[in-house]
């Protein structure tokens, strides 16, 4: 079949040498014409039809980053030329991952498959391998937990590795979840406890994966279990050690708005429910045993061993699930909102902890009070349950998101959690005014638009327009913005500002991607194999992504994706055969397979 290949790009792509692909394509059998049309070519169906007739082309292959964009013109041209418009084939670099390494070979293979008229996915099926039964899950947030329970409930062994002292991830920090306003702990805590009690799950907290080798179906992983210095089995969480410990630092779990000791439990319902020592701040550890040691003497169970050493575990696993979640952009970098300068400008996570019944104020929404720090003799702004309630609260959307100076992408959950915040403020402080500044309200899920409506009904002022600055005038914080719908500049004093700060991949994501040989997209999130058709697999065989680490998403989506991943893992285990890396199939293999498939 006489074929013509047209290279049409939508965007510049410096990583891919189109010319090299074109040269390769010219040598494929039955290819008569190869044309490089450049970026966003102006195409005219009549001109194209003339060319098609002149060269008598029976099949057109459009190759490029988004060839579907140009398909209508070519189909029309084929029809005008009196040829079959169905013979316009697409060679889509983006869809089939030619942005990933090794780009050039992949692009050639994609074009070859289109010329042979064979779906790329079929020709690129890697060789099958046998699979080890155990699954490694990295990250114990809601996504990791969900996947672990699904797989373990199916009777397969799981090892869950969590970096922090407890599992639960970010969801454990929340009081309510949108849009149902369910109690987050009521959903999460039972799941966390099941993890600990499940006979098929081995839980390693305070641990990190440090090396991965092997191939799909049988990976060898090395895990570093950082010494907890407290015996998890024996500790009864009596808090006596913590009471005596002289060191105080900001609590990570409380997003820094409360303090904890150097020996601590992240929160009362932590799993495992045992204390641990923060070795970076413990006087005993830092002085190599010369100072302190008070907690060890105090512990009634004698379960504190301040000289415990790190443990290294090696194990063989068949599948690996990455569920490392996210972190929050540093709000200090976004100067215009005065975070770090004004005490009552809070990040979303800080507010989650403030409004949480297990937070430092027992869930009361108050502004910070000035307190003398006895140790440092300095005055500090702290949250105190008896503090003053704010009368005016401003919530600012898209802080560091959809902004080319920070993250150009939308963080997807902040519109909805900001509405949730407005509800919480109105619920707890009915007399307070709440102002919500948004650019576009992204209420895309089931029940979300209705939730938005409900918040408006509750009396929150929803203002279209991103507030530009938070400044201080006469001891009062002032927010300034443009109300785009009412066409006015607005400026008014507020007592508290909540910033819906953008989300970024969890720290350590880059190292992990290098260790596992995974690609990440330009924003740093792990790349899935195919955004539409294969959103949980990766280029590496038997390595999956679940939850926020693949892209911003809310809890329902994270849970759904985690369950989907579990299905993929179980598929690979129960068939007894994993699937190798896509990248491992060579160009000549793909060509040969495409040819043989075409023959059929």
């Amino acid at each position: 079949m006489r074929s013509g290949i047209f290279f049409c790009q939508v965007e510049e792509n410096n990583r891919l040498n189109i010319n090299a692909v074109a040269k390769y394509a010219a040598n494929l059998p039955s290819v008569e014409v190869v044309r490089e049309m450049g970026i966003h070519p102006r195409l005219d169906a009549k001109d194209l039809a003339k060319q098609i007739q002149a060269d008598n082309l029976q099949r057109i292959v459009i190759a490029g980053d988004m060839p579907g964009y140009f398909k209508p013109v070519f189909a029309k041209a084929m029809a005008l030329a009196g040829h079959d418009p169905l013979e316009v084939r697409l060679a889509s670099f983006r869809e089939h991952g030619a942005s990933a390494a090794p780009t050039l070979e992949r692009a050639k293979a994609i074009v070859a498959c289109a010329v042979f008229g064979v779906p790329f996915a079929l020709a690129v099926m890697p060789a099958e391998t046998t699979v080890h039964q155990t699954t490694l899950i990295i990250g114990g947030g809601i996504a990791g937990i969900q996947a672990a329970l699904e797989i373990a409930d199916a009777g397969k062994p799981v090892c869950l590795v969590e970096r922090f002292g407890t599992i639960g991830g970010h969801m454990a920090m929340f009081d309510k979840t949108f849009p149902t306003l369910d109690c987050a702990a009521c959903i999460l805590t039972p799941k966390m406890v099941s993890i600990l009690q499940h006979e098929m799950i081995r839980l390693l907290t305070n641990s990190e994966v440090i090396a991965v080798s092997g191939s799909p179906g049988s990976y060898r992983v090395q895990i570093k279990c950082r010494a907890r210095l407290v015996d998890v089995e024996a500790c009864v969480a009596c808090n006596m050690c913590s009471e005596i410990c002289p060191v105080e630092v900001p609590s990570e779990f409380d997003a820094g708005i409360a303090r904890r000791k150097a020996i601590y439990i992240p929160f009362p319902q932590a799993v495992p429910n045992a204390y641990l020592v923060d070795r970076e701040h413990c006087l005993y550890v830092q002085s190599a045993g010369k100072k302190c040691g008070a907690c060890a003497k105090k512990c009634p169970k004698e379960c504190i061993n301040l000289d415990q050493k790190d443990d290294f575990i090696e194990m063989e696993v068949g599948n690996i699930i990455i569920a490392t979640g996210y972190d929050v952009l540093s709000a200090e970098d976004i100067k215009q909102y005065g975070y770090g300068m004004f005490p009552n400008v809070l990040t979303a996570l800080e507010f989650e902890r403030l409004t949480n019944a297990s937070g430092p104020t027992g869930g009361k929404i108050v502004t910070k009070s000035l307190r003398l720090n006895k140790r440092s003799k300095k005055e500090e702004w702290v949250f105190d349950p008896h503090g003053e309630a704010p009368k005016n609260v401003a919530i600012i959307h898209c802080v560091g998101s959809r902004d080319q100076n920070f993250n150009s992408y939308c963080s997807r959950v902040c519109c909805m959690y900001s509405l949730k915040f407005a509800h919480l403020v109105k619920e707890k402080l009915p007399d307070a005014n709440c102002y919500e500044f948004y650019i576009d309200m992204r209420a895309f899920g089931k029940g979300y638009e209705e939730f938005f409506e409900r918040i408006r009904q509750e009396g929150t002022f929803v203002i279209r327009g991103r507030s530009a600055t938070v400044s201080q005038e006469n001891e009062k914080m002032v927010v300034t913005g443009e109300d785009i719908i009412r066409d006015k500049l607005i400026q008014f004093p507020v007592d508290m500002v909540l910033l819906a700060v953008g989300l970024i991949p969890a720290r350590g994501t880059e190292e992990l991607s290098r260790m596992l040989g995974l690609t990440r997209d330009e924003d740093g999130w792990f790349s899935e194999l195919d955004y539409n058709g294969n959103p949980t697999d990766t280029e590496r065989g038997c390595v999956f992504v679940a939850g926020m680490c693949q892209s911003p998403k809310d809890i329902p989506d994270a849970v759904a994706q985690a369950s989907a991943v579990a299905a993929g893992v179980l598929r690979s285990i129960s068939s007894g055969r994993g699937i190798g890396h896509r990248g491992s199939v060579t160009l000549s293999d793909i060509e040969a397979r495409a040819k043989s498939l075409q023959a059929k």
Partner: protein, 383 residues
């Protein structure tokens, strides 16, 4: 009232320098951060919107581009890189071409070639005319005094007539600006008292460029610009009233020349500072340079430098060189004034003070028209 929409206006404005208007997604950050936006003039987002919607007439009537003094804050914070500051700058160029009744401004802003040809033709005409005039009447070996190649009295007469023509052109264009702003049927109608009351605004803004100062905490450009304006005005006074003394010599007349030296230093220093800034893109305001920005600065610095050279040649006792450089100087002065003052960037010396004045009048008219005057004054507070 039917609203006429010109969907091409965005493409049209790209020629004047604004290329990223489409990127704007109307977050309002720019208007909120702008030190000059107020309850009557919410910009630069609104003009961005009007551009996207093709509301040409609305833009034509708008004073907002002139109320922007290009501090650059809006562009720095714009989350989309839509360059609102540069859009306002481009709107000023566009408005300049709209105010101009001859249509030449439009031609020059849109066609680099036309502008260059105009400059060259004017320069050549000036050069030839001055040379022939000198050859006919005087002696190229004499710079000043009797028999001078270019006697100061003749040059003086020429200067005054040119000033008259240019002032008249600028005045007509300014009048057109006023008509556009207040001409529409449904717009505010100020009364005479309002016009009189705000009249002092004109000299005040012309002489001090006071509003520029508000941007100053961020960029210090106001002082440089003030230096430039002061130097230029000093030169103007010297040339218009003291030309015979300026051209006498060869000994130096300190009473007059001291001012001349100071003004030259100011002119050259400030323009070189601006040129350097644009070359190195040192500030937000200097990130984008339209050809008209370059041309204005280059001509300013050329004129100042040839003026200085001519002075040196004369005082050092080289009358022939002095006369020739004088002609070269005039070959810069004439095209610069003829092109820049009524048709291009320099026209801002009239439009900016005028816009501040008209905006004040407009505000009064709006307040007077509204039945509840207070409502317009207080909207910075919601709820």
């Amino acid at each position: 009232m039917a609203i006429r929409v010109n969907p091409k206006i965005i493409d049209d404005l790209a020629v004047y320098g604004a290329e990223d208007v489409q990127l704007c997604y109307h977050c309002g950050n720019c208007s909120a951060v702008c030190p000059h936006a107020d309850e009557f003039n919410v910009f630069p987002r609104k003009p961005m919107r009007n551009l996207q919607m093709g509301l040409e007439k609305k833009l034509e009537r708008s004073l907002e581009p002139w109320l922007c003094y290009y501090c650059g804050q809006c562009s720095e914070q714009c989350p989309r890189g839509a360059e609102p500051g540069e859009t306002m700058m481009s709107l000023r160029r566009w408005l300049t071409s709209r105010y101009d009744v001859t249509g030449l401004s439009r031609l020059f802003y849109r066609s680099w070639k036309a502008e260059m040809i105009a400059i060259l033709v004017l320069a050549l005409l000036t050069g030839v005319a001055f040379f022939l005039f000198g050859m006919l009447r005087g002696d190229i070996h004499v710079y000043s005094g009797p028999g001078a190649f270019l006697p100061s009295s003749a040059v003086h007469l020429f200067d005054w007539s040119m000033a008259g023509v240019l002032a008249a052109l600028l005045f007509v264009n300014s009048l057109h600006m006023w008509r556009l702003v207040f001409g529409s049927k449904d717009g505010p109608k100020p009364n005479l008292f309002m016009y009189l009351k705000h009249l002092p605004q004109l000299p005040w803004h012309f002489l001090t460029q006071n509003r520029f100062r508000t941007c100053q905490e961020r960029n210090g450009l106001w002082l440089i610009h003030l230096l430039l304006v002061a130097s230029y005005l000093t030169m103007l006074v010297l040339i218009m009233f003291f030309l015979p003394t300026m051209q006498s010599g060869p000994e130096i007349r300190w009473t007059v020349h001291t001012f001349g030296y100071a003004a030259s230093i100011g002119l050259i220093g400030a323009t070189i500072f601006m040129l350097h800034g644009r070359l190195k893109k040192t500030r937000t305001q200097f990130q984008h340079s339209h050809k008209s920005d370059w041309l204005f600065l280059i001509m300013l610095v050329y004129v100042a430098l040839t003026g200085v050279l001519q002075h040196i040649a004369h005082r050092a006792g080289f009358p022939v060189a002095a006369n020739l450089v004088y002609i070269m100087h005039m070959m810069g002065v004439v095209p610069m004034l003829v092109l820049e003052v009524p048709f291009s960037k320099w026209s801002h010396l009239a439009y900016r003070p005028l816009a501040m004045y008209l905006a004040a009048v407009q505000r009064d008219a709006l307040l007077g028209r509204s039945s509840q005057g207070g409502e317009i004054l207080a909207p910075r507070r919601i709820a």
